[in-house]
């Protein structure tokens, strides 16, 4: 997929939970655009039975949903082709991270949106912070829920604007209690997991920080000539190394590799660093790797590519040596490894991979990424 910005402009209304008012604010903006003479349509809108929000669609043209037959059931999805035919200037698309029913043209709604943008249509959309790919493990850790529908970080980075729709957790809980957000039964269930106050507070902080980050990356190019850092403390490493951070992630069959990739990419994004991922096998193209493991490695490499990380399969007899040699050749400054598995701990006869890499990679930083799934969850006393 090319990284060049698409023709249309994307604006994301970012929230941290259902009911903070993302859709409402998006529709308000659509109404304002319409009053200003912009040709606006609703491509997809999820009413959730919220009266105030539904009222905000008054007078806006709606492109009817497309019906898709799947396993005897009839499902409704956004009619992307219909919108393309109608060609509005601005299209409203609710629930950006939605996964389309099988049989749709594209797997994900964000890909539908991508199509609209490529056609030069501007899009307003909504999402919650828990759907951002690089935060997936942290969200699991905080809420106990593995969010399946995710948005790759680069998709958010391509957005022209990210706006935080903010509401305090207490106000949100009040709304929930008043039945504004969900029906009574669903509200009760929601209160039991996502909607605990301390959870909401953490999610909200994540959303605020992410929005600040999105604002920041849109204003300053740190690598641009003439960029002056704040006076005061002088960053030696940055001054001498030309700010050329390069991160290399080691891909293995270990399930925790997915976590490692997300974490490495997130760190790379914040440091404005290049990011690569490699797997190492003794024979070319993983031929010596047992099928099951090979499938896992390929799955992980594919996952990395979906996050716009360049990948490579290296050939070498010794994993640590091959990895570090490649790193040296490519000016890598920072390696990312998974934690050694418990079975590898008794280091009686041989050193762990971590030890071997640290031993060889004298001039690099080596991060052993946390296992963020193991953190214990907390309940009030």
């Amino acid at each position: 997929m090319p990284d060049r910005p698409p023709a249309g402009k994307l604006k994301i209304f970012l929230g941290y939970a259902a009911g903070v008012g993302k859709t409402y604010q998006m529709l308000e903006e659509a109404q304002a655009a319409k009053s200003a003479g912009v040709d606006v349509v609703i491509g997809y809108f999820e009413p959730h039975g919220r009266k105030d929000t539904i009222a905000k669609t008054d007078g806006l043209e709606v492109i009817p949903r497309r019906k898709i037959d799947y396993r005897g059931g009839l499902f409704e999805e956004m009619d992307t082709d219909g919108i393309l035919r109608r060609r509005p200037e601005l299209c409203v698309v609710d629930e950006f991270p939605h996964t389309n029913v099988p049989g749709s043209d594209r797997l994900k709604r964000w890909q539908d949106v991508q199509t609209l943008l490529d056609a030069g249509i501007n899009v307003l959309t909504t999402m919650n912070i828990q759907h951002l790919e690089s935060l997936n493990d942290q969200i699991w850790n905080i809420t106990g829920i593995r969010v399946r529908e995710t948005i790759p970080d680069w998709v958010m980075q391509q957005a022209d604007q990210v706006v935080m729709v903010d509401l305090t957790p207490r106000a949100l809980l009040n709304r929930l209690a008043r039945g504004v957000v969900y029906s009574q039964e669903k509200a009760q269930k929601a209160l039991e997991n996502f909607f605990q106050e301390s959870t909401l507070v953490v999610l909200r902080e994540l959303a605020l920080r992410q929005t600040a980050h999105e604002v920041e990356i849109r204003q300053v190019d740190y690598d641009a000539p003439g960029f002056e850092p704040e006076p005061g403390y002088r960053d030696e490493a940055e001054a001498t190394s030309d700010n050329a951070d390069r991160i290399l992630i080691l891909v293995t069959p270990e399930p925790s590799t997915a976590m490692l990739i997300r974490r490495g990419k997130r760190v790379a994004d914040y440091l404005h660093a290049d990011c690569f991922a490699v797997a190492v096998s003794r024979e070319i193209d993983l031929h010596d790797v047992p099928p099951q493991e090979r499938e896992m490695v390929e799955h992980h490499l594919n996952f990395a590519r979906n996050l716009h990380i360049e990948t490579r399969i290296l050939q070498g007899q010794d994993v640590a040596k091959t990895l570090v040699e490649f790193a040296h050749l490519n000016g890598v400054t920072h390696l990312f490894l998974t934690r050694p598995q418990p079975s590898q701990w008794p280091a009686l006869s041989r050193r762990s991979l971590v030890q071997q890499v640290v031993h060889l990679a004298r001039d690099m930083q080596v991060t052993i990424a946390a296992d963020r799934t193991n953190r214990q969850h907390v309940q009030p006393v």
Binding site: K11, Q138, N141, I142, G144, V163, M164, D166, T168, R170, E197, S198, V201, V202, R204, E205, L208, R209, T211, A212, V215, E216, R218, Q219, Y233, D235, E236, A237, E238, R263, V267, Y270, L271, R339, P340, W345, A347, L348, V354, Q355, V358, H359, A361, R362, D363, Q365, V366, T367, I368, A370, D371, R372, N374, R375, Q376, H377, V378, Q379, P380, V381
Partner: protein, 363 residues
């Protein structure tokens, strides 16, 4: 869900009960935070007052900016106003009048205003503090340029000096803080005060917006800490990156601290440099340690000197208690023969860190 509740000491329990009682007695403070005039924070404040009144709460307006728009007039008409008092030509919030009226909620605009000489409090935010102490909840609004530790940065961007400020600690004590996050283009038309300073208006507003979002995130972080404290919850995860750089006299501390500083800055996170006190170190080591600590101070890191029998355990305990997300350690590549059998300190650190990234700086 498993829970991480630890057994608490009587002192901790007492502190918790005290915190709960203080919290219950005091009014709640809610702040609408704006990054430029024209984002609509006063309107949001008043509108919340109106909605609360409609839901049956006893709401009054304690202070509102003199210049108002039609939107604001419309909401004001639905609310009871305790008029400002005029003292030597200066308008001041009638705190005694509000205390006597004793509403459950009071709306206060212009939090940073100075009071005239002779008024019991020098600044309006101190009046608000008194209202809160009296059990009156306050909803207020403020522009980030009036927050003391942000004033300089904001002035650099806007080129506009302000003299009145509100301390950051007061803001940190807020129960709720809301960012009024209007996108920049909405403010440009309305705002004529971004003339000087560098960069175009959109760039400036964008920088101010980022400051406001991060400020709100920091306050939210403080609230979470307070909430957890009040409820006796030991929660190790958080939304903020917290970096702990572990140094020793022999460590090659400069690159570790430089890297820690840069990572903390880019993540807008928190940087701590820790040293576990070693008994009987040589004069040379002591000197080296001092040098390393001065590097840490120059990087504006928080410095922690820890005591403990076992350095690894001490560091891990500190890291877990303080929600650290990344530990930076130096590691000598010269291995001792016995470490082949016992595992190196690095092995132990990685094993114990489990839910924290360990970043190794080999040397």
């Amino acid at each position: 869900m498993p829970s991480a509740i630890r057994r608490r000491s009587p002192e901790e329990l007492l502190r918790q009960v005290q915190a709960e009682e203080d919290y219950e007695r005091r009014g709640r403070l809610k702040v609408f935070l704006g990054y430029a005039s024209g984002v609509g924070k006063s309107y949001r404040m008043l509108d919340e007052g109106r909605r609360r009144k409609e839901r049956g709460q006893d709401v009054v307006v304690g202070a509102i900016q003199p210049k108002t728009s039609l939107d604001i007039e419309a909401v004001l008409n639905k609310l009871e106003v305790v008029p400002l008092r005029e003292i030597d030509g200066v308008y001041v919030m009638d705190t005694p009048g509000i205390l006597k009226r004793h509403p459950s909620v009071c709306l206060v605009d212009g939090l940073a205003y100075d009071n005239p000489a002779g008024w019991p409090h020098a600044s309006r935010w101190e009046d608000v503090n008194e209202l809160l102490d009296a059990g009156i909840s306050v909803i207020t609004s403020i522009n980030i340029q009036y927050i003391d530790d942000l004033r300089e940065r904001v002035t650099r961007i806007t080129g506009k000096q302000v003299t009145q400020t509100v301390p950051r600690s007061f803001l940190n004590s807020a129960d709720e803080i809301v960012v009024v996050d209007a996108p920049p283009e909405m403010c440009i038309a309305r705002d004529g005060q971004l003339g000087s300073g560098s960069g175009g208006p959109e760039q400036k507003l964008s920088e101010l917006r980022e400051i406001a979002l991060l400020l709100a995130a920091d306050v939210v972080d403080k609230q979470l800490e307070a909430y957890l404290q009040r409820n006796g919850i030991a929660q190790t995860f958080g939304a903020q990156e917290r970096i702990l750089v572990c140094i020793t006299p022999r460590a090659n501390a400069a690159p570790m601290i430089a890297s820690g500083k840069r990572n903390a800055d880019r993540f807008h996170g928190d940087l701590t440099v820790a040293y576990v006190r070693q008994a009987e170190i040589s004069a040379g080591d002591q000197e080296a340690l001092e040098r390393n600590l001065s590097i840490a101070r120059a990087a504006h890191a928080r410095i922690e000197i820890l005591d403990g029998q076992d350095p690894i355990e001490t560091l891990l305990k500190f890291a877990h208690e303080h929600g650290v997300t990344q530990i930076f350690v130096g590691h000598s590549t010269r291995e001792q023969w016995w470490e082949r059998f016992t595992g190196t300190p690095l092995d132990r650190l990685i094993r114990g860190a489990n839910d924290i990234d360990v970043r190794v700086f080999p040397h």
